[in-house]
């Protein structure tokens, strides 16, 4: 395959890969999701609220804070907190759910500006990107000049895009921007992240009226540290010195650099083990022998060790990408809508995966090329360590094109190409003994996806254990999200319900916390959404009441069900009174519940505000 793009060609033979990793420039825009979330409404943010620049914003996913705005950080909110902890630290915090699609669309527009520096940027996640820097540096006259250029461009682009969220007012562009050049993409990404963090800290120090001098001896020391009132967050490591620069960093940096470098949990575990072993810096870790690391920590450990010792990419076979792995499709007539392109991308991605599987290979990077009928060509690398499933690839194609369409797009897509790169041998995946992925049969998985596509995920719902005293609260219905081997509720913090093991354990009443005052099993099989009013009368035709001490005024003798049918009460028990949320005037509820067995049916009645209602039926 010919690589038509000008500039850097990431192909078989790059000379400076021999001993060190590929010289790479990485950009980290710290807190990008929070920046997007706090952007004004017009700037493409879907929240439509326009929270304003100064508002403290935190983006949450699965009940954890994943990204915070500068203001929120000043209040002590940091990523990793739970929603509650974050709110406790900053009560005026705006919580916004994570929307990767939105972030990716916005970031794609930033990327459009960066194309001026180099083609074929590689995006790890919204807010982080990288590019081999050899060509651009030659053009711009050095790594530092390139890094400065990139930093300027991004600052301007973000300013434009997000409408002045550089809330410091110092004209220093958005806070938390880090640009690093080092030998190897991972080293560059980690250094960029650290630089971004450092910028945030110094900016905060300046803004809070401190002396304003950046901390001396900071990791950002190389490059023009204090150009203007705040540091620029640019790090350039001279060729061959990456290992030295990394050696002083704590092992916790293994988990930095974004999500593209392997399983975050595994990396944090690794860092924890290393520090407990007394290896507190990357330098100490790098001084271990590679075979020992491989024996003890397997592949995750080895790639981390390669990174720490500045030998990134050394163990990865990159030679001779087989041409037949390129999959492409002509779209004739050109696709007008993104849905069509997404559909095609998914088909291409599964074709690519089949081809890779035949060679027992995995790819960690995909080049997506889209051509339009107006002759434009949009190329982008997407990286992920081994987990780019067909769906994930299709999603990334969509992000890429959506961002492009929003920025300047007209025309329709006429050709789509996917080229897998950075191939690794596929070692296979060890399935758990108990949670087999065969739990969700193919038929069900595909059918559920079809149903969700037809009706939307709000209409295809799965029950999840809730909590409460009434039968209605015991379970909540959540939109169905299909994951590998299981179906999960889609709500915040919705864990995957095991779909696998035969006869798997239900989360029944034994597992859920007790709700004192709830009516014990058996539970009613029909629970009405809106309890319907009923009449309950004693033998003299008076309505039955419950007094303040929880006693019935008289034994009930007949019950008037909806529809005007009167039925005699055979037996009954109760009333069981419940006084819920008395501390909250809006949600306070006082109810009395009564089980009645009528001539043919058994019901649960509740009395609230003087009105008996049919709550549920033991059908």
């Amino acid at each position: 395959m010919g690589c038509p793009g000008p500039g850097v060609v990431s192909g078989p033979a790059l000379p400076d890969r021999d001993r060190h990793g590929v010289r790479t420039l990485a950009v980290c825009c710290s807190g990008f999701p929070a920046l997007v979330a706090s952007a004004p409404a017009g700037a493409g943010s879907r929240t439509g609220k326009g929270l304003g620049a100064g508002a403290p914003v935190a983006v949450v996913s699965a009940n954890r804070v994943v990204s915070v705005s500068v203001r929120a950080r000043a209040e002590g909110v940091v990523p990793g907190l739970t929603r509650r902890e974050a709110q406790a630290r900053c009560p005026s915090l705006h919580l916004v759910p994570l929307d990767t699609g939105r972030d990716a669309r916005m970031f794609e527009r930033v990327m459009g500006v960066l194309e001026e520096v180099a083609p074929r940027w590689e995006v790890t996640e919204p807010g982080r990107c990288a590019v081999p820097v050899r060509g651009p540096s030659r053009f711009f006259g050095g790594d530092l000049a390139t890094a400065e250029r990139v930093s300027d461009l991004i600052a301007v682009a973000l300013e434009e895009l997000l409408g002045g969220v550089g809330d410091s007012g110092s004209g220093a562009g958005p806070p938390g921007l880090g640009v690093a050049v080092a030998d190897g993409p991972r080293a560059a990404a980690v250094l960029a992240e650290l630089a971004a963090e450092e910028t945030l800290r110094t900016n905060a120090a300046v803004r809070t009226g401190g002396s304003g001098s950046p901390v001396s001896g900071s990791p950002v020391s190389r490059g023009p540290v204090s150009r203007g009132p705040v540091s620029r967050g640019i790090v350039v490591v001279p060729p061959g010195e990456t290992a030295e620069r990394l050696s002083g960093l704590p092992v916790g940096a293994l988990g930095a650099g974004g999500a593209g470098w392997g399983d975050q949990v595994a990396l944090q575990d690794l860092a924890g083990v290393l520090s407990r072993l007394g290896l507190r810096t990357l330098g100490r870790f790098a001084s271990l022998e590679a075979p020992d690391v491989l024996a003890r920590f397997a592949r995750t450990g080895l790639s981390a060790h390669d990174f720490a010792s500045g030998r990134e990419g050394a163990g990865v076979a990159l030679e001779d990408l087989p041409d037949e792995l390129l999959v492409s499709a002509e779209l004739d007539p050109p696709a007008e809508t993104l849905d069509q392109v997404g559909f095609m991308a998914r088909a291409l991605a599964s074709e690519m995966h089949t081809a890779l599987a035949e060679r027992a290979m995995l790819c960690t990077r995909v080049l997506v090329v889209a051509e339009t009928d107006t002759g434009e060509r949009i190329e982008r690398y997407w990286r992920d360590e081994g987990t780019l499933s067909a769906t994930a690839v299709a999603q990334r194609v969509r992000w890429q094109l959506e961002g492009w369409l929003q920025a300047r797009g007209e025309g329709s897509v006429s050709r789509l190409e996917l080229l897998p790169e950075r191939l690794l041998p596929d070692d296979g995946r060890q399935l758990d003994l108990w949670s087999s992925t065969s739990g969700l049969p193919r038929r069900t998985k595909e059918g559920l996806a079809r149903l969700v596509a037809m009706l939307g995920s709000d209409s295809v719902v799965v029950p999840r254990p809730g909590g409460g005293r009434s039968a209605r609260d015991s379970h909540v219905m959540e939109g169905c999200v299909i994951e590998e081997g299981a179906v999960a509720g889609g709500g915040p913090g919705g864990g995957v319900l095991e779909g696998g093991a035969t006869g798997g354990r239900t989360r029944s009443s034994e597992d859920s916390p007790p709700w004192p005052g709830s009516i014990p099993a058996p539970s009613p099989a029909v629970v009405l959404d809106q309890p319907t009013p009923v009449e309950l009368q004693d033998s003299e035709g008076r309505s039955v009441r419950v007094d303040g001490r929880g006693a019935l005024s008289a034994p009930p003798s007949r019950c008037g069900l909806p529809g005007g049918n009167w039925s005699g009460v055979d037996s009954w028990a109760g009333p069981w009174c419940v006084d819920e949320r008395w501390w909250d005037p809006l949600k306070h509820r006082r109810r009395a519940r009564l089980q009645v067995l009528l001539e043919r049916s058994a019901h649960l009645l509740t009395l609230e505000s003087g009105q008996w209602r049919l709550e549920a039926t033991y059908d």
Partner: protein, 223 residues
């Protein structure tokens, strides 16, 4: 689970069906007095516990706590809720039903959700082809392959102002085609925790030896 194997029943409901299992591709109507929902769910607990996926249409009022107590794994149950979908939204109900039959091993239609006439015939043909079991709750359908009629319920535990609802015994009559030609009456007992109980004096067909006896030779050991 295999697409052709019959759906296994638990010991609480097995005695109602002569061959001890539910054939795939048939339509079962559960109807009659209060208790029908519990009976339908008790019927499904065997298949669902051995891995079948259940899709429910028009069952928004189902009490999930009760379903869980009946012993059904909720993680293999998906409810399709069309109450928020507008009638004119372009998604025909028939298409949804067809998609559900393609998706699930068992599709449950709530009261008033089972269509009639030609559409029902098409759906049943599709279910036969895909090997899905259709269950309708008070569907009012003539010519179901099997229909379970709930005749009555005896509750225990509730008195005149004391106790609470506990165990119950539901009397059921099964009618149908083929092997079910002869109406057969039986009882399903639910214990005080809402779980269907195995019937002690389970009528076994002549010459049938329970599998575990054959496998382990328990009878030999005891005698």
């Amino acid at each position: 689970m295999s697409i052709r194997a019959p759906l296994p029943l638990t010991s609480a409901t097995r005695h109602l069906f002569p061959n001890g299992g539910l054939r795939r591709g048939i339509l079962v109507d559960v109807t009659g007095a209060p208790g029908a929902t519990s009976v339908a769910m008790a019927l499904l607990s065997g298949p669902c516990r051995s891995g079948a996926w259940v899709g429910l249409l028009g069952m928004e009022h189902l009490g999930w706590a009760a379903v869980s107590e009946l012993g059904l794994p909720l993680q293999r149950m998906v409810s399709v809720d069309l109450t928020h979908t507008r009638e004119d939204s372009g998604t025909a109900r028939s298409a949804v039903m067809a998609a559900m039959i393609d998706t699930f091993d068992i599709v449950v239609f709530g009261t008033g959700n089972l269509p009639g006439g030609a559409l029902l015939r098409k759906l049943r043909a599709r279910a036969r082809e895909r090997g899905s079991l259709l269950v309708s709750l008070r569907g009012g359908v003539d010519g179901a392959d099997a229909s379970l009629d709930v005749l009555g319920t005896r509750w225990e535990g509730l008195g005149q102002g004391w106790g609470r609802l506990g165990g119950r015994t539901v009397e059921v009559q099964v009618r149908g085609r083929g092997a079910l030609d002869r109406p057969c009456r039986g009882e399903i007992r639910f214990d005080a925790r809402g779980r269907p109980e195995a019937i002690e004096d389970e009528p076994t067909t002549a010459g049938h030896i329970p599998e575990w006896d054959v496998e382990w030779g328990v009878r030999d050991l005891v005698s």
